[in-house]
């Protein structure tokens, strides 16, 4: 091994270690604090305890916020998967002009400031006569979840070899059977992964949800930020640790379904 190779190797190791430590710091800190006994976020914790998790049960407003977040995420993801998949099929299989423009338009909510989209929706919905906060939240969150579905399903569909369907039909399947036996299993992993990450994006959204809240309807991130501002204590770290766990589960499932490297595709 030459000196320069050895140097490169050391450098790669150093950067890799630094990046991993830097990126994992907030997650590790959150989890450590949530299992500590200290009220003032002392690190490392003087003693381990589950008191912040016990507190979760009688933290006012937490459960309703969690329920709202789960419902909004589930409904908006379901709607986005239906709309997004149909649209992805049109974009990949269609032969009409303007497909590129449509694709950019559908993914554009990811590229614009969430806060601005939220403000625009607040006023736009009002002008259309939609005043119900809960319905507004669902309608708005479809716009957040749709880009994830469209992006992933378009990617998976364009890699799919459609001659396989013709092959299945040659071998005696009729068209619908060919679709369900060949196309659906081939796309299912990407489809489920896109739904999972769309769901998480909805669960975590703050800047759009903040404009659709009232005294009864608050999503989890909004309720959490309110706790942080009112009385910051490690109870929030315990909620956060729960959300970290959810992300870990999603990552493990995503890895099983499509593989870690595919998840990193940009």
């Amino acid at each position: 091994m030459t000196a320069i190779e050895r140097l490169t190797r050391c450098f790669v190791w150093f950067i890799a270690a630094f990046t991993v430590v830097f990126l994992m710091t907030p997650l590790v800190v959150t989890i450590a604090v949530s299992f500590g006994s200290s009220t003032v976020f002392t690190l490392p914790p003087p003693d381990w305890s589950l008191r912040w998790y016990e507190r979760l049960a009688n933290t006012r407003g937490l459960l309703p916020a969690l329920v709202v977040s789960l419902e909004v995420a589930a409904v908006s993801t379901a709607v986005a998967m239906a709309l997004g998949t149909l649209c992805a099929i049109a974009l990949v299989r269609g032969r009409f002009p303007g497909r590129e423009t449509i694709a950019t338009f559908l993914v554009s909510p990811l590229m614009l400031p969430g806060l601005v989209i939220g403000i625009a929706m607040l006023q736009g919905f009002k002008s259309m006569g939609l005043r119900d906060v809960y319905v507004s939240l669902m309608v708005a969150h479809v716009v957040i979840t749709l880009p994830y579905v469209v992006r992933t399903v378009v990617g998976a569909l364009s890699l799919f070899d459609f001659s396989l369907i013709d092959a299945a039909r040659t071998l005696g399947c009729n068209y619908p059977t060919a679709l369900t036996r060949v196309l659906v299993p081939a796309l299912a992993p990407a489809f489920l992964t896109s739904g999972m990450f769309a769901f998480l994006a909805s669960m975590d959204n703050y800047p759009i949800s903040i404009f659709f809240t009232d005294a009864w309807t608050k999503t989890l991130p909004i309720q959490m930020l309110q706790y942080v501002e009112e009385r910051p204590d490690p109870t929030i770290a315990a909620i956060s640790a729960g959300l970290v766990l959810l992300a870990v589960v999603a990552l493990v499932i995503g890895d099983r379904l499509v593989g870690l490297r595919k998840l990193a595709d940009f």
């Binding site: 710091t25 976020f41 601005v116 991130p221 959490m224």
Partner: protein, 286 residues
């Protein structure tokens, strides 16, 4: 025979029935997303007597607002610089690392992506305290004489935001680095090129498209971040985004909020358009 070769010419959407499948999603977004954005744009330019630039003139004539714009761009620029300084070599490390290190790195890059900004910004509140991890580390390394609080300082904000946006720098750069054939650089070495020359003439130009999109991602997200500055620096330091949020949520000043929202929107759109143009240029020249 696939449909692709059977129908080489573009058809009008009215004659291609597949196009109809795109209609529900497009109509949905037009109504609940495009229309509200246009409505916001129109309202910000309309006064009591038709079209007006008055709100923008009023906004720009207040020196406080210039400081707000300055804060926004300065913080975004620093976050981008920090992300690039860490993310560019990290993308190479990720591409060149062995299988195990690669998996560990990928997990630590992708996992934070599906965790919300509220969770991560709250964690940074703890990390940046006087008795927090960063302060302990700096004192331990002998760089600081005594513990310092980084929370509610601009440095703390840049550090926290850079941490949260770092994956958006690493992944686009990694996506081009992994395509580079390492033998290219070896070929350069065989031909007698120095490492520096090889880097600036071979490697750097090949990675530029990834760099452009990484920089665009990080910069535009830093310009529009809202939760992170609210938690890490507080109300005394205003950016366009926090000012927009405050004017709607606290001050109930919709006029000011609409004006700043449109400025933010214009910034974001110009970053997207500019970076697309730039990416096409640097992509075409290699």
């Amino acid at each position: 025979m696939s449909a692709r070769t059977a129908q080489p010419s573009l058809r009008s959407p009215w004659r291609d029935p597949v196009a109809l499948l795109a209609a529900p999603a497009v109509i949905y977004l037009l109504v609940v997303y495009a229309y509200p954005l246009l409505w916001l744009l129109m309202k910000s330019f309309s006064g009591p007597s038709g079209l007006t630039l008055q709100p923008y003139v009023a906004f720009m004539s207040d020196p406080f607002n210039w400081r707000v714009i300055g804060n926004t761009l300065r913080v975004a620029a620093w976050v981008t610089v920090v992300c690039f300084a860490i993310g560019y070599p990290a993308a190479f490390a990720l591409a060149r690392a062995g299988a195990l290190v690669q998996i560990v790195m990928l997990v630590s890059i992708i996992l934070p992506l599906s965790i919300g900004a509220v969770v991560k910004a709250f964690a940074w509140q703890i990390v940046l305290r006087r008795d927090g991890v960063v302060s302990q580390l700096m004192v331990g390394l002998g760089l600081w004489d005594e513990p310092q609080r980084l929370l509610f300082t601009e440095t703390g904000l840049v550090l926290g935001a850079a941490n949260i946006f770092l994956p958006f720098m690493i992944l686009p750069v990694y996506s081009v680095v992994k395509l580079i054939d390492p033998r290219l650089s070896e070929a350069g070495a065989t031909l007698g090129a120095t490492p520096l020359y090889r880097f600036t003439r071979v490697t750097l130009p090949l990675t530029l498209p990834g760099v452009v999109s990484g920089v665009a991602f990080v910069f535009s997200m830093s310009v529009s971040m809202f939760v992170i500055p609210s938690l890490l620096i507080g109300d005394r330091f205003q950016t366009l985004s926090t000012l927009t949020g405050r004017s709607f949520l606290l001050m109930r000043n919709e006029q000011l909020g609409s004006t700043t929202a449109v400025i933010l929107l214009a910034l974001a759109v110009s970053i997207v358009v500019g970076s697309t143009w730039l990416a096409r240029r640097v992509g075409g020249s290699t």
